[in-house]
């Protein structure tokens, strides 16, 4: 029924759909299903899905690396973190590696400012980053 009663669940449903997808994104089919479930129109679901930074409508890597570049992190050297990651992964910000392992994103403050520069990879938080630490983390993930 199109009368609004389940609209408020849309963000939770989008989040679930993305988490259950190996490539961390929400497919068009899922968007349509969510529209049906919530009573929202396609454009309303699309509008919500594209508004929020954590959602992606395009396939991403299995690991989505989100590096913060807000005040504290920028001050404490997020640029060098980006440089290392771009070099190691051979991609630019916003891109995904060739075999779909990693995506590199720049994001706003993650609330880990006391351990700036910081990043999140999927659900895990990493702070007090150094180029060396980054390399170690990547090695660890590549092994999995």
């Amino acid at each position: 029924m199109k009368l609004r009663n389940k609209e408020k669940d849309v963000i939770a449903l989008l989040n679930k759909a993305q988490r259950e997808n190996k490539h961390n994104y929400i497919t068009e089919d899922k968007l349509k299903l969510i529209a049906q479930e919530t009573g929202l129109s396609y454009s309303e679901v699309y509008g919500v899905a594209t508004f929020y930074s954590l959602f992606s409508l395009k396939p991403q890597g299995e690991y989505v690396i989100r590096v913060c570049n807000s005040g504290p992190c920028h001050l404490m050297g997020s640029k060098s973190i980006f440089d290392v990651l771009e070099k190691e992964l051979k991609i630019k910000i916003g891109e995904t590696t060739a075999y779909g392992r990693f995506t590199l994103e720049e994001v706003s403050c993650l609330g880990i400012c006391n351990e700036a520069p910081a990043m999140m990879i999927n659900e895990k938080v990493y702070g007090s980053l150094t180029p060396q630490k980054i390399r170690e983390i990547l090695i660890g993930l590549k092994k999995k």
């Binding site: 963000i11 929020y52 954590l54 959602f55 807000s70 993650l110 609330g111 400012c113 006391n114 938080v125």
Partner: protein, 429 residues
């Protein structure tokens, strides 16, 4: 865990780092749920309201609105059902105090929400936690489950006949959803665009119903006020700004982390006594209140960091985030960083916000590349002023503060860039 820098006083952070946040028993052992018990068994809603009003508590999210007054407005509203929302969408750069409370002492917030619900007359509470705070969400979920098992949530709490339930709503990556009306839009399942005010949430909020929205830290203060009284609360802090504040320190200091202190502590005290001094060089500037906050130069190191004192000087306390910067920092580079944040986080609804933030960044970037002109600096300032007067919400209204204060101290440094030189060597011209 976030480092706690040997706070002079631990009211909000009393349990932080001292109890297992996943154990309700340990929370109870520290007088946990005593306040709820007291309120539901011995106080009428009006009494709770007058206690909070008397305490002089102000909103700790940044707006500093008198909490008791907000509760009263919501309580007096006639329409039903009412809602209360805990705003845990902590997104102001440099701020991580709410995360600490949610990760370290979630039950305190549950308690605060129950009491708030009782006082204003609602059975429905939501907590909007930003999507990146997964540990907070996880722990809060556990805490809710435990609270329900212990009958602190649900029907007939403490046999008082009062029912209350809390649901978590998880954010999905948007700073502007920390703005209360954008938060409600998001909660209702829409894009996080702010609404125009008036009407204000206490009269028309979630789904058009009276809604009370409080910050995490604000709600954390409810428990000590109830247990120890408004009078006690007033003995802390300053006359106009009673109580404590949890300050978040980051940047070029030896020790970064949280410190809870009576309202009115100064920047110098924080840096020297708690953050163990500057790191790698002399103090150049500090931004207080997050990216939307003002820049404080050396001349401001002794200003009491409370809402009123800072407002007097044309500055803001905001969330209480403090970013300390030493002389290796390029003022223009940081300004670009701040403007980049606004541009990325703008919701896009209003023209000054959507296009203004973009143009500000473009102007600052041009200057930093040696491609700008003096007029650009003035245009930046002027645009930010117009944005302050016309933007729909605080996001567009904010850039004027960092821009004008940076220019106040570092206009020359910025002008150097126009001539093709970055004094600190940070900007590649």
């Amino acid at each position: 865990m976030i480092k706690e820098l040997k706070s002079p006083l631990r009211v909000v952070l009393c349990n932080y780092g001292r109890i297992n946040p996943e154990s309700i028993e340990e929370y109870i052992a520290q007088d946990g749920y005593e306040a709820v018990g007291k309120v539901l068994r011995k106080m009428r809603p009006e009494q709770v309201l007058s206690e909070i009003k008397a305490s002089g508590l102000q909103g700790r999210g940044g707006a500093a609105f008198p909490t008791g007054l907000k509760w009263e407005f919501t309580a007096k509203a006639k329409d039903t059902p009412k809602y209360i929302i805990c705003n845990a969408d902590e997104g102001e750069p440099g701020t991580f105090k709410d995360r600490a409370i949610l990760e370290g002492d979630p039950h305190k917030i549950i308690e605060g929400m129950i009491i708030a619900g009782y006082a204003v007359g609602t059975h429905y509470g939501y907590i909007y936690i930003r999507g990146e705070y997964l540990l907070s969400i996880n722990r809060f979920n556990k805490a809710l489950k435990q609270a329900r098992e212990h009958r602190f949530l649900g029907n007939d709490i403490f046999g008082s006949g009062f029912n209350f339930q809390i649901d978590i709503h998880q954010g999905a990556g948007s700073y502007v959803c920390g703005e209360e009306t954008a938060l409600m839009e998001s909660l209702e399942g829409r894009r996080g665009n702010p609404r125009f005010k008036p009407p204000f949430p206490p009269s028309s909020g979630l789904w058009g119903k009276p809604t009370l929205i409080n910050n995490v830290e604000t709600l954390a203060n409810i428990i000590p006020i109830i247990l120890k009284g408004a009078d006690w609360f007033r003995t802390l802090g300053t006359k106009e700004c009673p109580g404590t504040k949890v300050y978040a320190i980051s940047g070029h200091v030896k020790e970064t982390g949280l410190i809870e202190a009576p309202m009115g502590i100064t920047l110098r005290e924080i840096i020297i006594n708690y953050a163990q001094g500057m790191r790698d060089g002399k103090f150049k500037m500090a931004q207080v209140g997050g990216t939307a906050g003002a820049i404080l130069g050396e001349d401001m190191l002794d200003v009491p960091l409370d809402y009123a004192s800072l407002r007097e000087k044309g500055l803001v306390l905001g969330s209480g985030a403090i970013l300390v910067m030493n002389e290796t920092t390029c003022a223009l580079d940081m300004l670009k960083c701040f403007l980049n944040f606004f541009e990325r986080e703008s919701c896009g609804k209003c023209i000054p916000g959507r296009v203004g933030t973009k143009k500000l960044l473009e102007l600052a970037t041009a200057i930093s590349r040696g491609e700008g002109s003096k007029d650009d600096i003035d245009l930046m300032l002027h645009t930010a002023k117009v944005m302050q007067k016309t933007s729909l919400c605080a996001l567009g209204q904010s850039p004027i503060l960092p821009i004008s204060t940076i220019l106040k101290y570092f206009r020359e440094e910025i002008t150097e860039h126009i001539k093709g030189r970055c004094p600190t060597g940070v900007c590649k011209i």
